[in-house]
């Protein structure tokens, strides 16, 4: 039995034309860290708010720890929530913020103080218990918000884009801290983000959402390497999309911009069918020769961009423009713009999308 179960959850806001969340089913195991990933407006926040109890369900069930919770009030669910806007109580010190949940729950003063100390140590802000929120940086405020949510020993932790108000450096540091704390406490966590890097680097599993629907659920490796749809493939990382025509389905042979190529994923296709293939830039290489079973496309270098660790080269192949990444090193022989080149890639790195 999974710890958290969402079954056919649907949310239709009053007067809305389309449902914000539709047919959403997801099982989350105890201790798992699951991200909801998707563009603005795809229903991530709505899903989280239904779990927290701030929105009612139009249809479906939510079961947590063996109990249906969709009828419970938010203050009875024992779910910790961290908001994008921190939402610290400005009239209370850091310590009082962290102790708030235990205090309204009627815990003894000494127990609260003890727990607040533990939490301050957990977020490494032992010195700042007496400060007010306005005396903290954004990153510190969000740590306190995390401590406040965890102080009540919630069964489930929900985070709604907790890092998006922070600048890039702090974002990376804090996300690693969040993950470390989550692992240490073993708390089941749902994390909402529109940042694919964040989702892939943090999560045990990623749920990619689109227009209120789940596009794909999988671990970061699966989501990145085996995206099932164009949508997922494009949303997660940079991707080359190539139109192709099926030549011989059983042999896996296709034509790309009039040049022959092979793929390993032509199951169910018929001859002459128009399909779409996805290729990750880092799986392409510029070489003069390759293995016999490698695909080879002839093209012309169009642009070259240095991105630090990698060099991104765009090659025009017929109508299509292929982006490919080479690891930067001083010995790298970068071709000149306008020179003819061969792009090589393995048959298996060429994915057919739904």
């Amino acid at each position: 039995m999974p710890f958290l179960q969402l079954a056919n959850v649907r949310k239709l806001y009053p007067n809305a034309a389309a449902a914000a969340v539709e047919n959403f089913s997801l099982d989350v195991e105890a201790g798992e860290f699951v991200s909801l990933l998707g563009p603005s407006g795809c229903g991530k926040t709505t899903t989280l708010r239904m779990i927290a109890g701030f929105e009612t369900l139009t249809a479906g069930q939510i079961v947590m720890d063996g109990k249906a919770i969709e009828e419970m009030r938010p203050n009875q669910r024992n779910i910790g929530m961290v908001f994008q806007s921190y939402a610290l109580f400005p009239n209370m010190t850091v310590a009082d913020n962290i102790g708030f949940g235990l205090s309204v729950g009627g815990s003894a003063k000494a127990a609260i103080q003890q727990r607040v100390r533990e939490m301050l140590a957990l977020i490494k802000l032992e010195e700042l218990g007496a400060r007010y929120p306005y005396q903290l940086s954004g990153g510190q405020q969000q740590r306190v918000a995390l401590a406040r949510a965890l102080a009540i020993r919630p069964k489930l932790l929900l985070l709604d884009e907790p890092l998006s108000a922070l600048d890039a450096k702090i974002r990376v540091a804090l996300r690693n801290d969040i993950r470390a704390i989550q692992r240490k406490l073993g708390i089941t966590t749902l994390y909402v983000t529109h940042d694919q890097e964040e989702a892939l680097s943090l999560s045990d599993r990623v749920v990619v959402m689109n227009h209120g629907l789940i596009e794909q659920v999988g671990n970061p490796f699966e989501i990145y390497n085996f995206p099932r749809t164009t949508y997922v493939a494009q949303f997660v990382g940079t991707l080359n999309l190539l139109d192709a025509v099926v030549v011989e389905p059983t042999a896996g042979s296709v034509q790309i911009q009039g040049q022959p190529a092979h793929t390993t994923s032509l199951a169910g296709c018929s001859q002459g069918e128009q399909i779409r293939l996805a290729l990750r830039p880092e799986l392409l290489a510029l070489k003069s020769t390759g293995q016999a079973d490698e695909n080879r496309l002839a093209g012309v270098v169009e642009t070259i961009a240095f991105l630090g660790a990698v060099v991104r080269i765009q090659v025009r192949v017929g109508e299509a423009l292929l982006a490919l990444d080479e690891f930067n090193n001083p010995q790298l022989a970068v071709p000149a713009v306008g020179s003819p080149v061969f792009v090589y890639f393995a048959r298996s790195s060429c994915l057919k999308l739904l």
């Binding site: 927290a52 109890g53 701030f54 009030r73 938010p74 203050n75 009875q76 669910r77 024992n78 779910i79 910790g80 929530m81 908001f83 806007s85 921190y86 939402a87 610290l88 109580f89 400005p90 009239n91 708030f100 949940g101 309204v104 729950g105 007010y132 929120p133 306005y134 405020q141 918000a145 406040r148 949510a149 009540i152 108000a165």
Partner: protein
């Protein structure tokens, strides 16, 4: 962040633009205050004296201060409570949408309705022969005046003042309550707080500085009122403003310098009120600054 450099010529223009304000402040605020201060310590012959200030301790002046403070404090607190409750009902309650703009427009008008027209409005409704007084008599069989009510008393004056006091509170508190972030409430709820606990520990404490600050504003509003009280009670209530009026332009009592001293006392009380107000305002701003 780089400071924005305004060219000197532009800056001079800015000062020039503010000149009317500074002139106004000089002639109608600073000079009168200064002369009030000086005149309070000057005998009719032009010597320095503490006699007028000492005169403030002579009856009935302390009583007048007390009455003024009493009416102002009473109407500020009651108006503050009424206004806050109405603001809460208007923002948090499930009232129909059209009620909100209507109420706020009324409050905007009512909070500025004072002086002689207000006094006459109340005389014609709650006076001895007033319309509402008659309604009470006819419909409920209650004679308000027999029951102890009198429009020309402390309570009557307070009711009249409340007419502009609570709408002012409403006008300030509606945006303040709406400024409470939804995520504060939700954070409190998810931490297990009941709605009452949220209001007692988060909502009201956050609103408290602006709440108290506005009550102080209401206090000052009522404290300085003169025309309403004069038109309503015709001097039957010894408010400090009415006393000052009598000393400065009266025929019988006339002692302008004592009037100045009494006004100086008022200025002192108002100054304390304003200090309290700005302190509360700063506290509130500091809390709400940078906490998103």
């Amino acid at each position: 962040m780089a400071a924005t450099h305004t060219p000197p010529a532009r800056r001079r223009l800015t000062w020039l633009g503010l000149a009317p304000f500074f002139l106004f402040a000089l002639f109608f605020i600073f000079l009168p205050s200064a002369s009030l201060f000086v005149d309070s310590f000057r005998s009719p012959e032009g010597h320095f004296t503490l006699e007028h200030l000492g005169g403030l301790l002579q009856p009935p002046i302390p009583g007048s201060y007390a009455l003024s403070i009493g009416v102002s404090a009473f109407t500020a607190v009651v108006g503050g409570l009424l206004g806050s409750l109405m603001a809460y009902a208007l923002t948090a309650g499930n009232l129909p949408r059209w009620l909100r703009p209507l109420t706020l427009t009324f409050a905007g008008v009512a909070s500025n309705f004072a002086g002689v027209p207000l006094a006459f409005a109340f005389i014609s409704t709650l006076g001895r022969t007033g319309f509402v007084t008659a309604l009470f008599q006819d419909l409920l069989g209650i004679d308000l005046y027999d029951a102890g009510f009198n429009l020309y008393s402390f309570l009557g004056l307070s009711v009249t003042y409340l007419y502009f006091q609570f709408p002012l509170m409403l006008l300030v508190m509606v945006p303040a309550i709406e400024g409470l972030k939804r995520s504060w409430r939700e954070a409190a709820e998810s931490l297990g707080a009941t709605p009452t606990q949220y209001w007692m520990r988060v909502g009201i404490p956050i609103l408290l500085p602006s709440l108290l600050g506005t009550v102080l504003l209401l206090f000052g509003n009522a404290f300085g009122a003169y025309a309403t009280a004069y038109a309503l009670t015709g001097g039957r209530l010894n408010l400090i403003t009415i006393q000052i009026g009598a000393q400065i332009r009266g025929d019988v009592l006339r002692n302008p310098n004592l009037g100045y001293a009494m006004a100086l006392g008022m200025v002192a009380i108002m100054a304390v009120t304003l200090l309290g107000y700005s302190w509360l305002q700063r506290l509130s701003e500091r809390w709400l600054k940078d906490t998103r």
